[in-house]
């Protein structure tokens, strides 16, 4: 009993005891890749069914088509980890794009346009976070449903119901062009993914969001700035919507109040397919990205295969369901293998 009361820093002596067998380890590692495994299965199926699917050109298309969902899904993941939900992101994309387009009509400055879009996203996110925290609301569903409605109305009103064409070159570059077959937007997604990975796994803030999601009351007692953490995830989610607006606006060279419709459902589905839990405290960025890609690949493959428009929603629904169910089975298998490994030891 020599418990130091200062911050303990000395390293433990010797490695922790290991009781694991090396036998079924490979199988276990494979099973653990989880959603990625299913993405691979979907890609293989698509390649088998359509000869053009696995061409660089089409993969470029898939990536470009998925960039917006991917960005929104990463932000949604942060929100969901804290037990929240952000329904407003789709409308925010529309509002930010409209504000950007109007800014471009007023002043021809690319910097200002980009700032306007990011700023709009930030503003909506801030409203969500602050209303949730200061309003002591029990759940973010309703605030973000309200801002969904308000942002949609504002976008329509500002735009006069019309799309406004024209975006600065840099926005068009980001959203609409590629290096070879690799879209610029994919590079942006990759950069953001690295950033979010850093945030969630290496920074104190990342710890905090998992703590808040795991036990909000405990987090408060541990003097974690719960309110600040909550506001920050909604602000980031708004910012992500601003970035998504830049990509969409660049891709379409316009800002329109119809952008981003129902994008929030895609984002949430991606996060859930990636194994996160609505009960908070669980989920990873990499898997959210895999979920987004899964949705993108399925949509693309159905277009390539010319699946009837009426049938497409049916296929998507079924595939989503299968993906989640496979994840459940995968988890059960993982536990089974762990036991086998322990027995083998």
């Amino acid at each position: 009993m020599a418990l130091s009361t200062a911050r303990p820093h000395t390293a433990a002596t010797g490695p922790p005891p290991t009781t694991r067998a090396r036998g079924p380890r490979l199988a276990l590692a494979l099973i653990r890749t989880g959603p990625l495994l299913m993405l691979v299965a979907v890609v293989v199926t698509a390649t088998a069914l359509s000869p053009v699917f696995f061409t660089t050109r089409n993969l470029g298309n898939v990536l470009a088509q998925t960039a917006v969902i991917a960005i929104l899904a990463m932000a949604q993941l942060l929100v969901i980890v804290t037990r929240g939900i952000d329904l407003s992101v789709g409308s925010t994309v529309a509002l930010a794009a409209v504000v950007g387009a109007l800014t471009f009509e007023a002043v021809l400055s690319a910097t200002l346009v980009v700032l306007a879009m990011l700023g709009t996203g930030l503003a909506v996110g801030t409203v969500n976070g602050v209303a949730l925290v200061w309003g002591r609301l029990p759940h973010p569903f309703i605030v973000t449903l309200a801002t969904l409605s308000v942002a949609h109305g504002l976008a329509l009103w500002l735009a006069g119901g019309q799309p406004h064409r024209g975006m600065p070159d840099v926005v068009q570059l980001i959203g609409g062009t590629s290096i070879g077959w690799l879209p610029w937007s994919t590079l942006l997604v990759a950069a953001l993914a690295l950033l979010v990975l850093l945030l969630t796994t290496r920074l104190v803030w990342g710890r905090w969001i998992y703590a808040v999601g795991g036990n909000p009351d405990g987090a408060r007692r541990a003097a974690i700035p719960v309110n600040g953490v909550l506001i920050s995830v909604y602000v980031l989610s708004g910012l992500a919507a601003g970035i998504a607006a830049i990509i969409t606006a660049g891709r379409l060279n316009a800002g329109s109040p119809t952008f981003g419709e129902l994008a929030e459902l895609d984002a949430i589905a991606a996060v859930v397919i990636g194994g996160a839990s609505f009960l908070g405290g669980r989920g990873s960025v990499a898997n959210a990205l895999v979920g987004a890609l899964m949705i993108g690949v399925i949509r693309n493959a159905m277009n390539l295969l010319n699946v009837d428009a009426f049938i497409q929603p049916i296929v998507i629904g079924v595939v989503i369901l299968i993906a989640v169910e496979l994840d459940v089975i995968r988890g059960a298998l993982e536990r089974r293998f762990q036991v086998m490994q322990a027995v083998a030891a």
Partner: protein, 291 residues
């Protein structure tokens, strides 16, 4: 034939591959697609690839389809663009040597198109406005059921109507209905409650007008009801006298002329830059020929 596999034409045989992209699955576009399928069946040297979006504002969906058609190597695309937002993707197609023919609505100011085969919605709206101006006594009021906010062709129908009315009636309400029947009924109920004397109701699309007719029937009023699209439901209502008129478009004509133009452009022939498929007021007098 259908590109879905069981085609009677050998894929990749000498046939010219062209794409047809329509907005979303409703009667109007189905009529168009049916006309194109007829054309397809009758022309052995043409193979049509079909694609359809999820809704009237599904820009992203259409763009994905365009990109995929480029990948599939079509020679021409005939498309009903959801909005000018698909222009970027169409530019890519043009750059890849694909001819683009716009059907149903234009993308104003875009120079990449080979031709536009369309109803002039503004003109159609004007037609309805002028017709209504003649029917209504001076000082009348009118309510407008808008379509989906942010959709240019639907907005044009409202703009055109106001131009055509030229002040002959005062607009007392113009709620959005998302072209949804239930919302049309709810809005019409409320309009008739707030403005029992409204002389006319105009709808920018078919379904809300069909819904509004229910409200009119229940309220026991007789406003002049005018729609746009002349959907099968509207035709029946005009026959039975509950609806006064509707602006008809010609989707089948759009489809067949559109695909003809696209094939011609793909073959390198010169095509007319604009093909108007026209509009016409459907009233009790001429409804028979629209059935």
């Amino acid at each position: 034939g259908d590109s879905g596999g069981g085609s009677d034409k050998a894929a990749g045989g000498g046939a010219i591959k062209v794409g047809l992209i329509t907005k979303f699955p409703v009667d109007f576009y189905d009529t168009m697609v049916d006309a194109v399928k007829q054309y397809d069946a009758a022309h052995a040297d043409v193979e049509v690839v079909y694609g359809q979006g999820k809704s009237g504002t599904d820009d992203e969906g259409e763009i994905a389809i365009i990109e995929n058609m480029i990948t599939q190597g079509v020679k021409a695309i005939a498309i009903t663009p959801t909005s000018p937002n698909v222009q970027g993707a169409l530019d890519k197609a043009v750059k890849a040597g694909i001819k683009v023919v716009l059907i149903d609505n234009d993308i104003p100011g875009w120079s990449g198109k080979s031709s536009v085969v369309a109803t002039d919605n503004l003109a159609g709206g004007k037609l309805a406005g002028q017709w209504l101006a003649k029917q209504l006594p001076a000082g009348s009021t009118i309510a407008i059921l808008q379509g989906r906010l942010g959709n240019p062709s639907l907005d044009d129908r409202v703009k055109g109507l106001k131009e055509g009315l030229a002040g002959a009636a005062k607009v007392v309400a113009e709620p959005a209905t998302d072209c949804d029947e239930t919302k049309g009924l709810n809005a019409a109920q409320d309009i008739l409650t707030a403005n029992p004397d409204v002389a006319a109701i105009y709808g920018a699309c078919g379904p809300p007008i069909t819904g509004a007719l229910q409200a009119v029937k229940a309220a026991g009023k007789k406003p002049v009801v005018v729609g746009f699209d002349a959907s099968p439901d509207e035709i029946k209502a005009i026959e039975s006298g509950t609806q006064a008129a509707s602006v008809a478009q010609f989707p089948a004509k759009m489809g067949s002329l559109g695909i003809e133009t696209a094939v011609a452009a793909a073959k390198g022939e010169t095509v007319k830059p604009a093909v108007d498929t026209g509009t016409e007021m459907v009233t009790k007098d001429n409804v028979a020929k629209f059935k």
